[in-house]
Symmetry: C2
Subunit: 200 residues, 2 copies
């Protein structure tokens, strides 16, 4: 039985596409049950529909977190989702929501955490002069860009690379890493041990 | 003309050995003019002497920073050193000393900076569950473990690795990286551009 997954997006969701395409493989252990956006104009919604995935838009603007999450939980329940993958989802959750999904909700961050948490990562990477960057798939915990790390990929930062060039190179790694991490979770091979994840 | 280098140590200085050995190659652009320890019992002193390098011990215990640096500066001047390489040197400098040597003083730190500054790095790396770590050679600036990054190396952290195993794996990278960075500096190929270093 493939594990049903909901992907949450706010924009174009390029990782959404990577997950949907990976899940089309017959032996992939998860299927994308729905894509949910917190903006009706999220570009990823059209793309998800074109790829045959049901979509929902729940406009979060003007809603407080609790009101938004009530609608979100209803949509998740209706879809049967057992796993959530955040893909450029730009809204923070309440601790209650995070706790309810702890161990079943993944995020991808475009840096080698714990370095470069937060936004505007690639500009900060380039300006800092580091020689390596990468991406991180982690379980979502109440603190932003924290939570047990599942997989990381590291790539060199070429001299004189622009933030856009670094973003493109990291994104190519993200599109490989996120489906790998979701596979491990869907296969039941991830064990959370305090701040660490063991892959069995 | 090979650039004269002083290596500063507090203990065994395994990176000291790597630098001395690298500098023995005929085409290496630097020579180790002296090894200076801030403890008379630093194990690296005997090793440096056995490798034919002049040594000095300047006991820092009980001296304030200014008094220690006065003696250190005299020893550096006597040795003719134009570059300082810190190799496990456990004493902080005054901002004045750091400024005087800015662009000519290197340090190596056993993490992928800016992650895991400070001490006890490998235990913290293992407990955090990160999948990559590494080492960083950087110019020394007044803030500890900051300063423009010259070179970094990244290596995977195997599951279930102990801090000691990670330390050994990182140290093997350090012993390659530090001589490479010193070579670039001695060849005049490093340009500091604000927080960044460009290799020409």
């Amino acid at each position: 039985m493939k594990k049903p997954v909901a992907i949450l997006i706010s924009g174009r969701g390029s990782n959404m596409r990577a997950l949907i395409e990976a899940a089309q493989a017959p032996d992939y252990p998860a299927r994308i049950a729905c894509v949910i956006a917190n903006r009706a104009d999220a570009a990823g919604l059209d793309e998800a529909r074109a790829l045959g995935v049901p979509t929902h838009a729940i406009a979060s603007k003007g809603l407080n977190r609790e009101a938004f999450e009530t609608q979100l939980s209803a949509a998740l329940q209706a879809s049967g989702a057992e796993i959530i993958c955040l893909a450029g989802f730009m809204r923070l959750f309440t601790p209650d929501f995070t706790r309810a999904w702890y161990g079943r909700m993944l995020n991808i961050h475009p840096s080698l955490l714990p370095a470069f948490k937060g936004l505007d990562v690639h500009r900060r990477v380039v300006e800092s002069g580091v020689r390596f960057t990468g991406c991180t798939v982690h379980f979502v915990s109440p603190e932003m860009d924290e939570g047990p790390i599942i997989l990381q990929a590291a790539i060199p930062v070429p001299q004189h690379a622009s933030p856009e060039q670094v973003a493109d190179a990291v994104l190519a790694e993200e599109h490989k890493l996120y489906p790998q991490a979701l596979r491990l979770l869907a296969e039941g091979r991830l064990v959370i041990d305090g701040p660490r994840v063991t892959i069995s």
